[in-house]
Structures are given as C-alpha cells and as structure tokens.
Amino acid sequence: MSEAAYLIGLGAAGAAALLGATLPARRRVLGAALLSSAACVCAFLAAGQVLVSGHAWSAHSAEVLPLTGVSLSLDPLSALFVAAAAVVGLAASCYAIGYAAHSAPSRTATAMLPAFLGSLLLVPAASSVATFMVAWELMALTSLLLLLNEHRQRKEARDAAQWYAAMTHVGAAAILLGLLLLATHAGGQTFAAIAAHRGQLSVALRSAVFVLTLVGFASKAGAVPLHVWLPRAHPEAPSPVSALMSGAMVNLGIYGIIRVGEDLLGGGVLWWWLAVVALGVVSAVFGALHAAASADVKRLLAYSTVDNIGLILVGVGAAGALAVSGERLLAALALLAALFHLVNHALFKGCLFLGAGALQHATGTRDLDRLGGLARRMPVTAALFGIGALSISALPGFNGFASEWLLLESLLHGFADHTDATVVALLIGVAALAITGGLTAAAFVKALGVGFLGQPRTAGAASAREVAPSMLVGMALLAASCIALGIAPGVLLPVLERATASGLAVRPPSPLRAGLGLDLAGVSGAIEPALVVAGLLGALVLAWALVRLSARRSALRHARTAEAWGCGRELQTARMEVTATSFAEPLQRVFVDVLRPDHDLEVTHVAESRFFPQAISYQHRIDDGLERVLYRPVIDAVSAWGRLARRVPNGSVHRYLAFGFVALVLILVVLA
C-alpha cells in the first residue's frame, strides 16, 4: 500500500515535470503545480503509513537503471525525511501557482520544479549506492537549473549558480568516493549488504569513508565552512525553490550523515561524532551572528539555516557520541531532539522563505532597509511571516521552542556520560545553543519589525498589496503546522521515536512518555505547552479586561490617534526610522572581530572650499569572512593555474604534434 502510493507519487512528480515542459505557456504552471501537489500528498501518505505502522518496505527493479538496477526502501528514518519534504513541497507547489503569475517562469523552470521535488522525495528512499548517487545528482542538477532561472536578469544569479555547482559537485565527488570505497570493501552496493558486512571493515577504512561522506553531506547541509553557497544561492533562487532548498534539501545532508554513520558504518568511533558536534557548534554561532547582521531578508534566512543546521548537527553528534559510550537512552533522546528540530526547521523556514518571496513579489526588493509598513498593506502575509519568525525565535507555544527545549534537555542529561571528551563537547554545544538563542530572536525581531512594522521606506513598499490567495494558502499550511506542533508537540512523538529507533545502530529504549506535551522518560524534565498557551491567552484576556474596567468611561470610547514623539520636530518621516542595518549595528559592533564589516566613506567637496561637502556616499557591507580567508586563496590559485595552462596551447600545430609524441613516448615508457 505504502509502496504503491510512494511510486505513484514519484510518477506524478515525473508527469508534472513532463507537463511543465510540454503544455502551452498558459496552462503549464497550473498543470505542473496540481500534479506535483498530488505527488506530495501521495508521498506524504506513503511515508505516513511507514511512520505510523513502523513497517519498512523495500523494492528492487533491475530494468530501470542498467548494470546496477534501482533499489528503493522506506524505513521510518527515510520516511520522516520524505514526509518533511512532501509537506514543504506541497506548500511550495501551491505557492508556485500565484508566484508564477508575477514572474512568468520559463518552460525549463516550470518543468524543473516538480523534477527537483521528485528528487527530494527519491533521495531518502534510495537504498543502494548507485540509486543514491543518481538521485543525489538529479537533485543537484535540477536545483542548479532552477537557480539559473533568472541568470539573464541578474549577474548575481550566475555567480550564485557557479558557487553552488562547484560546492555541490565537490561534495558529490567526496560522497561518491566514500561510498565506492565502502561498497568495494563491503562486497555489495546495496545498503543492506553493506550494513551486513560492516563488522569486517577496519576502523581506518570506516573512518576514511565517514570523513569523505561527512565532507560531502556537510557541504549539502550548509555546515560551516562548507556553507558558502547557501547565502548566495538561497537569495537568488525563486522563492518556492529557496523554500524547498532550505526546508528539504539541506535536511538530506543530515540524513546522509545519520544513514552512513549510524546505519551503514554502525556508529563507529567517538571522534567522528565529536567532529560532527564541532561542525555544528561553529555553524550555529557563525550562522546566528551573520543572520543577526544581515539586512537582506533572504540572506538572513539563509544564514539562519546555517545556524539551525548547526543545532541539528550538535544533536546528531551528541547522539552518536552518547551511543558510542553505550548511553542508549540519552543517545535516543539527543537524536530525537535533532530530528524534531529538523522537522520544525523545515516547517518554519519553508514558511519564512515563502513569506520572503511574497515580500519580494509585492515590493520588488528583499532589502529590509527599503521595506516597512507592510503589516497594514499585506496583513495576512505579515501574520504568517510573524508566526514563522516567532517559531524560529523559540517562543513558548511555537514549535521551535519544543525542539530547542528537547535539544537543551538532551545535552543537559548527556552530562551523565562518563567520557570526558563527550562531556566537554556537550558543554560547548550547550554554550553554542545558548548564544544562538538570543541572536536568533534579535535577527527575527529585525526582520519582522523593520520589514513589516513602522512606515514604508520606499515607494515600492508604500504601494505593496496583498499577494495571491494560492501563495497565502501555501504559507498558511506551514504556519498552521508550526502552531499545531508548538501547542501539542507530543502528537509527533510516536513518529519521531520510530525514526530515531531506525536511525541508531543499537535499538534504544523509548526516551519520552506519550502525551500531548513532552515528558522525558528515565530522566526528569517535562513541558506542557498547551497549558502554557492556555494560561497566556487567559492572562491576556484578563489583563485587557482589567484595563478596560479600571479606565474612565470617557477614555473607553475610542483611542485618540496622535502624532508620534519626534523630539519637538513637526514631521516624522520614514527617513528617521531605524533601518535593518542600523538595528543590527550594536550587535555588529560587539562582534566586529567575527563579522568584519567593510565601510567606505567618500566625501566630495565643492570646488571652492573643502569645508563644504557636495556629496557624501557611504557604503557598508558584510562579506562572509570565511569565504575571504578560506576560499579566495584556492580560487586565486586555480585561476592562476588556469592562466598558466592557457599559455600551453598557443595555436602552433607543431607544438600539438610534439605534445602527442611526448605523451605517446611516456605511455610506452610507463607500460614498459
């Protein structure tokens, strides 16, 4: 049943891609969107059945892919990732209908969106090295084509696509190398065969495989320092694609680490997981800092993805390390927290990216410094973006709080472990989690407050209007899930437990007790968000009623509207408001050593006297410091090498003949 639904879903995604490529311009968007929505629903049902029943299935077909065949299997861990991708995919497909009315996507873009979606559903279900790599590459290529959608209009899109292509293919090469190494030594290329033979592999070989695949998966997940493509690609991609990339694609990097590290290699050695925690800590802090400093809303969201992926990696690494020391309950708790945060991140980041797309759609810019006052002009978008922003800031009653709390608890109780290295890693993980909390809140107060509240800063923002209903429905689906999981996180518990159990090499005991809230089993700790929300709403109404009752009769009738205080100035203009850049300035100044902003102040004077400035231009930008330090030298070296190599073919036929001759001689020498 689940198998059939899943295959129908994949087929529908393929058909949607085909329709998008062949239908006439007016119908192709709607056709492709409807079919890919159907694909998502089918895949969600298929994954849901596996998650609820716990029965995995696998299928093999020798005909589809020559030589190796295609192997698919859906266990609860895979199913969780399929389900998350399907929910974000459904919202994005729905959103794409309204989005297309404005941006008129090309035939390629319309066809590639369902294909990308299909590949996102396919990767977690792949159960052999060949299938996995084909699906992985399909995902990389379709997303790359989507990223190139607007390359004619904007140079940045081309630039972003180059970075993305380079990073994703270096990553894919590393994964391929690692998995091939594994498959040759394990005597089989299906995951089941590898897992069965892992005991015979030496630790050195397993470590080599883990490191190689970790590099590849971390580059897909966007972990620092392999994150450089993310803040470029997410802003340049069309918004439904950014939502899919950030809500579903980066997750698959995490999936790969769990699948290879725990399932195929059987948990391995402590230092692997400490390395994962280290990656997570660096990503979380770096991402949160840059998100707090960004003024471009999509760049902010991209860096916040780096931050959240960091938190998830801390959880995954902690789970791995605790499992190595035999703390099965605590390992299960940490992995469950990481998976829960991953699901929540998919939901709220998908919602936020779709909201950012609506902003861009309505105002023509994604620069927060040019927005403002949108809450009055597009109230529904503002409310939905607000829900996403409050969720990611981990306020109680929203889903981000539930999973961050679980993550904190898992690290706190992980201190019971007796390996010193693990305890130190957990302590650093907790510190990172604590640092990111406040910074994330600051970043999203900025996005919400500067973008949607206040007065409009430009004509574009002043003339913004609410976006199409289909776009709102897409966002509302994700926002509603955020609230539902925030109030009753316990409903997802059985599902997460099954996914956790199939993700760990050793079968763990159940880490939480069933219920509407979260209640840890074995160790102490619980939260009951539903009661807290009820209390909050009750207190809110009570406070409102008390104020109304104690007010004078005449004051009750209506609130007088008056001008805001401007220090005695008559007129308050939008130029006097804080911008996103000035909002972030104090934080940026505190963390100047990490962010290293570039300032450029130019004053031109009038010709007669240098005491009278004619024009002042001020530029401020924050580049990615790691990109400058780590990547520039590599790029420069490669370019220099390229320039050098260009001198070799100078057009002379004699020289080419000489090359041929020398090469032939060398081959003969080597062969002899």
Binding site: S393, A441, I527, E528, G535, A539, A551, S582
Partner: protein
C-alpha cells in the same frame, strides 16, 4: 531522596501533597503577590537610592499610585502604528503572569509542577522582550527603533549567561525543572555553599541587572535620548498601555528577584498549600526580595552607568562565569 527521585516524584505529581485546586489558588496568590510586590520593590529601590543620595524620595507605594493614574488616562495611539503597539503590553503582562504562576516563589510546586521548566520561564521572559521590541519598532520613530535595537542587543547577550547559569543549577539537581531544583536544594542545604552555585549567582545577578534595566546597564530614571534603552523603546506607549508596560516590567523584576532568592536560598518557601505555610511563604519571599533590592539599589548608587558598548564586556563576563560554574559543577559532582 536522590535528586532524580525527588524530581521524578514532582513530575508524576506524587510529591505534591496538595491537590490541584489549592495549587491553582497558590499560583493566583503568587501572581497577585508579584503584581503588587513588583511595583513596591521598584518603589523601595527608588527610596533606598534617594536615601543613599541624601534625599527623602517618593513613598515606596509611588509606583502603585502611578499605575492607578496611568490606567485612568486617555488612550492615545501613535499615528503610523498597527495593532502590535496595543498588543505588546498585553503580551508582556500575560507572559510575565504565566511565568510567575508556574515559578516556585511562594510555594515549591505551584500549578504545572511537572511542566514548570526553567527554560520555559526564560523563554517566556524572552517572549515579553520580543513583544516590547516589536512595539518599539511599530510606530516607525527614531527613538523606538533605537531602543528596540539596544534592548535586543543586550537581551541577546544576557540570555546565554542566564541559560548557562540555570544549567549550572540543573547539573546537581539532575533536572531543569524549577520545583525540582528548589525541592532538591531544600533537601540538601549544603548545596547552597557549593562553588558552582556562587559563580552562577554572580552571573545571574548581572543578568538580572541587565534584564531589569538597572544601572550600570540602563538607567530607569533617565530620559536623555542618547543613553535611553528601555525608556526609548516604550516612548510611544501612553496611558493604560504605558501602565501595562510598567506593571509588566515590575512583575518581571519581582519574578527575577524571587527566582534568585528561591533557587539559590530556598529557605522559608511553602512546601504545601496550607494557609500558614502560604502566609509564611509570602512574607519570606517579600523579605528576601527586599534584601536583593537593597543589594541592587546599593550597586546602582555606587556605580556609574556604563557606556553602551562597555555593557557587552560585563555580560560576556557573566557568561564566562556561568560556563565556569557549569565546569566546576561537572568536575566536583
């Protein structure tokens, strides 16, 4: 009983000898005590400062009278503001009230004993701060935005220190459940002198000073534009709205003082919801909070306000102390 056993009993509800009804009543008592006591603490600190500076000062009940005056005033809404401006004070008060209701202030296990996690309280406080910051940005004025920006910066730096300090307390109690920590500390009075608790105490006091906007981080009595933080953020709230903001802030101050008192020195807190215990609990809580108010007021009198960009040094110092506290706790356990 071991810490784990105590907290497990709390979570399952077997440790609380009283039923749900009395505990709800105790929670309401806590909210009422903090709603009245918070403004009184603010008045007390102003009085202590005045006396230390050689002035007579306003009566201690002045903040309460101000509140009464404010709620009876006309409601004025800023021109470009949306509903967020009206909603922010309500969210501030509601989040503070819920945090007070579930914290062990008068009684060890008020309503929601099992789910009264320290992180819930911290993030409820964050919810109030976020609401106020959004309210500051809403009218689109220069002051409001500047205040929000500064308040969020200080909040972002204070929160890590607070979270990690709580963690330091949680290690020995083996839970981050607030009633659990308090009950376990009552059962092991020797813990109060542990080095990690003393380190965490210093960190928490710095955080409390920052979160309540006292000198040397912010000056609650200034209206000089360049130095304002909190006052700039709430500049556009008027009348009843301003009253709610003042009340919410006073309740947060009362909550933080009460939490410091009970988490570090839980003597005298009621362990069941009988009337004599509750009365004693309220009295002891008031006395402890007044003592903390005295200490903080004296800090305020004896230090000058820090420049805004020196505040991060103070807060990162608190963070380092908190991390040190966790490390000490892990080494000495």
């Amino acid at each position: 009983m071991s810490p784990a056993a105590i907290t497990a009993a709390l979570v399952t509800g077997t440790a609380t000898p009283t039923g749900l009804g009395p505990r709800i009543a105790a929670s309401i008592l806590q909210v009422a005590a903090v709603a009245v006591g918070g403004p009184l603490l603010v008045g007390l600190m102003a009085k202590i400062r005045a006396r230390a500076e050689g002035r007579i000062g306003a009566p201690i009940s002045q903040p309460l009278r101000d509140l009464r005056k404010l709620v009876r005033k006309e409601r004025i809404h800023a021109e470009h503001a949306s509903a967020v401006l009206t909603l922010a004070p309500l969210v501030l008060v509601a989040s503070a009230a819920v945090a007070v209701a579930i914290s062990p202030l008068v009684i060890t296990a008020p309503v929601l004993a099992g789910g009264a996690d320290a992180f819930v309280v911290v993030y409820l406080l964050l919810m109030g701060s976020v609401a106020l910051a959004l309210g500051g940005l809403d009218p689109g004025t220069a002051f409001g935005g500047m205040g929000s920006s500064r308040a969020m910066t200080i909040g972002a730096l204070a929160e890590p220190a607070l979270l990690v300090s709580i963690l330091a307390l949680s290690i020995q109690a083996e839970t981050s459940n607030l009633p659990g920590i308090v009950t376990a500390t009552l059962a092991h009075p020797g813990w109060m002198a542990n080095p990690e608790r003393l380190l965490a105490l210093v960190a928490v006091v710095v955080v409390v000073i920052a979160e309540t906007g006292r000198i040397p981080v912010d000056n609650p009595s200034t209206h000089l534009e360049l130095t304002m933080i909190h006052e700039a953020m709430v500049l556009e709230h008027a009348g009843p709205d301003l009253g709610l903001v003042t009340l919410g802030e006073a309740m947060r101050l009362g909550l933080l003082f009460g939490l410091v008192a009970n988490l570090f020195f839980p003597w005298g807190i009621a362990t069941n919801a009988s009337l004599p215990h509750l009365a004693l609990g309220v009295g002891v809580l008031g006395a402890k909070a007044a003592a903390i108010a005295l200490v903080i007021a004296l800090i305020e009198v004896s230090t000058a306000k820090l420049r805004l960009f020196r505040v991060p040094e103070l807060l990162s110092g608190a963070f380092v102390l908190a991390v040190l506290a966790v490390m000490t706790g892990l080494v000495t356990r």
